[in-house]
């Protein structure tokens, strides 16, 4: 038995218990407690918080989160596929890959602000369009579902590219050449050979994009304005302004359960990571 290994693992165990396990247990417990008079939690135990998830109002917000995430995911994967194909075929793979990953590491907040700068009523796009005379009144580009979807696609495109690239890169290039030799046009080769063989990558990148989209908070908060409330915003609101911690905890559990189910399906991918 390695003594050293035990010592080396001890601090991360301590941290995992204190900052992952115990907080999780607390939220789980809170989700089944009643709301306290001053924002805390009280006994008795109740399932009311979970029942409220199915209220028409909250159900609509959950549903909205799901469909906005679904649209963003489809767009991400569709946009990422040709890009991944380009990188896999280009002679300077590492450079092009870095160019995809770089924006992912540079401040999510600022990247959202960049879109606010572009989409605002007095933003660059509206200013240019008005200046060229195409439009008279500014287009309402910001603070709607479309802006949120755009922000999500922009934010998570790198997530979609990586697994697709990993899959396409491993494919045998001769397959497409063979298809061409046998008379298949490029489009047919794409649909009948490239796409089916990339199914695993498409699946992985869909889940990798969908899960963070579902839990998004900042994108809908900044680009969606007050109209586009998603699960993430609802949770934040319960823990701050509304001070209804038990309901916020139940929402968190619901979100975790959804994310957990999806990742469970894709668990093979996840284990490659750690």
């Amino acid at each position: 038995m390695s003594r050293l290994r035990a010592w080396f693992l001890a601090p991360s165990w301590l941290l995992a218990v204190a900052t992952v396990a115990i907080p999780f247990a607390i939220v789980l417990a809170y989700s089944a407690l009643s709301r306290g008079a001053y924002g805390g939690v009280e006994l008795p135990w109740t399932s009311e918080n979970y029942q409220r998830l199915f209220d028409l109002l909250y159900g609509a917000i959950l549903w909205r989160s799901v469909w906005i995430s679904a649209v963003a995911t489809v767009l991400c994967v569709v946009l990422a596929f040709p890009l991944a194909l380009f990188i896999a075929r280009s002679p300077r793979k590492n450079l092009y890959l870095s160019l995809v990953i770089l924006p992912f590491w540079t401040s999510f907040l600022i990247r959202l602000y960049a879109w606010m700068f572009l989409l605002r009523d007095t933003g660059l796009i509206n200013t240019v369009l008005q200046w060229t005379g195409w439009i008279r009144e500014p287009l309402p580009l910001l603070y709607n579902d479309g802006a949120v979807i755009l922000g999500l696609v922009y934010g998570y495109l790198p997530f979609a590219v990586l697994p697709l690239y990993a899959t396409i890169e491993k494919l045998d290039p001769h397959l497409l050449e063979a298809a061409a030799d046998l008379g298949a046009r490029p489009f047919r080769a794409l649909v009948e050979i490239l796409l089916p063989l990339s199914a695993e990558g498409i699946w992985a990148s869909s889940i990798l994009v969908f899960v963070p989209c579902l839990g998004t908070y900042l994108t809908s908060d900044l680009l969606g304005g007050s109209k586009t409330i998603l699960i993430g915003n609802l949770i934040q609101n319960q823990f701050t302004a509304s001070r209804d911690w038990p309901f916020g905890a139940a929402l968190s559990m619901a979100l975790l359960a959804m994310a957990g189910c999806l990742l469970w399906v894709a668990r093979k991918r996840g284990q490659e990571l750690l």
């Binding site: 601090p11 991360s12 890009l83 380009f86 602000y113 660059l124 998004t216």
Partner: protein, 258 residues
């Protein structure tokens, strides 16, 4: 593989433009004299305004302090964990790290907030720098482990065994043989931990106290208020700063792999 065709290349150009042009536009307008979206000539007004803004400067100092502290802890703890996991995997530890990577930030944030509030029933403390640092250490460890473990995958186990056969203790073998081999990966991991710490808004805003306002929190409230050319200057500095760190980190990892 066949070279990319012309239409594919054109598509890639557009995709890269989509990813990078919005930030370049911010950089261009950060040196614009006008406070509106019309070009009126080059000026460093907004950079001067940025340095004169006390909120921004104080929060930037807070952010740096938090990032340095959490990077030191996260890198040390994470590198040790990676080494331990390489010696013998632990499903529970990997699971817990994986969980911290995939849990939506907002859920991590509220659960840490609930945890701290619960602790404060017993301990006379309040939200502040220490809670922010603890939260940052907690969420950046997983990144460190991933990077260091990737480097250990290519490491020859017999090197340590040889050192121990020659009489080195387990720790001496780690220090003298493995640690130098890991150094570039550990540095790369530290840079990433620093980046995710200095960049975080969602979790930080939930566990920060009155005295621990960070740069992203100030940026957020400025962005909520709308038009502000100072924010273009701040964004440019942050994006270039973080971009440099990330490129540097990639370099270190690539050098390690060679």
């Amino acid at each position: 593989m066949t070279r990319p065709g012309r239409s594919l290349t054109l598509y890639a150009v557009c995709a890269y433009a989509f990813l990078h042009v919005p930030l370049l536009i911010l950089a261009v307008f950060s040196v614009n004299q006008s406070r509106f979206t019309v070009w009126e000539g080059f000026s460093l007004t907004w950079y001067r305004a940025m340095f004169a803004n006390r909120d921004l400067m104080e929060s930037a100092a807070n952010s740096l302090m938090i990032a340095v502290a959490s990077t030191v802890f996260a890198t040390a703890i994470g590198a040790m964990a990676a080494y331990a996991l390489w010696k013998r995997p632990s499903v529970w530890m990997s699971g817990s790290l994986y969980l911290s990577l995939v849990t939506p930030e907002i859920v991590t944030g509220v659960s840490l907030l609930a945890f701290f509030q619960w602790i404060f029933r017993f301990v006379h403390l309040r939200l502040g720098m220490h809670t922010v640092i603890l939260a940052h250490v907690s969420f950046s460890i997983a990144y460190v482990v991933v990077v260091v473990l990737a480097r250990l995958r290519n490491y020859d186990r017999s090197l340590e065994e040889a050192a121990m056969d020659l009489g080195a203790t387990e720790f001496a073998a780690f220090r003298g043989v493995t640690l130098p081999y890991l150094a570039p990966a550990i540095a790369a991991a530290a840079l990433l931990a620093f980046t995710v710490s200095i960049d975080d808004y969602v979790i930080t805003s939930l566990v920060a106290g009155v005295d621990s306002q960070t740069l992203p929190m100030v940026i957020y409230s400025m962005a909520r208020r709308g038009v502000n050319p100072v924010l273009n200057a701040v964004s440019t500095v942050v994006v270039f700063g973080l971009g440099t760190l990330v490129l540097f980190s990639e370099r270190l990892r690539a050098r390690g792999d060679r």
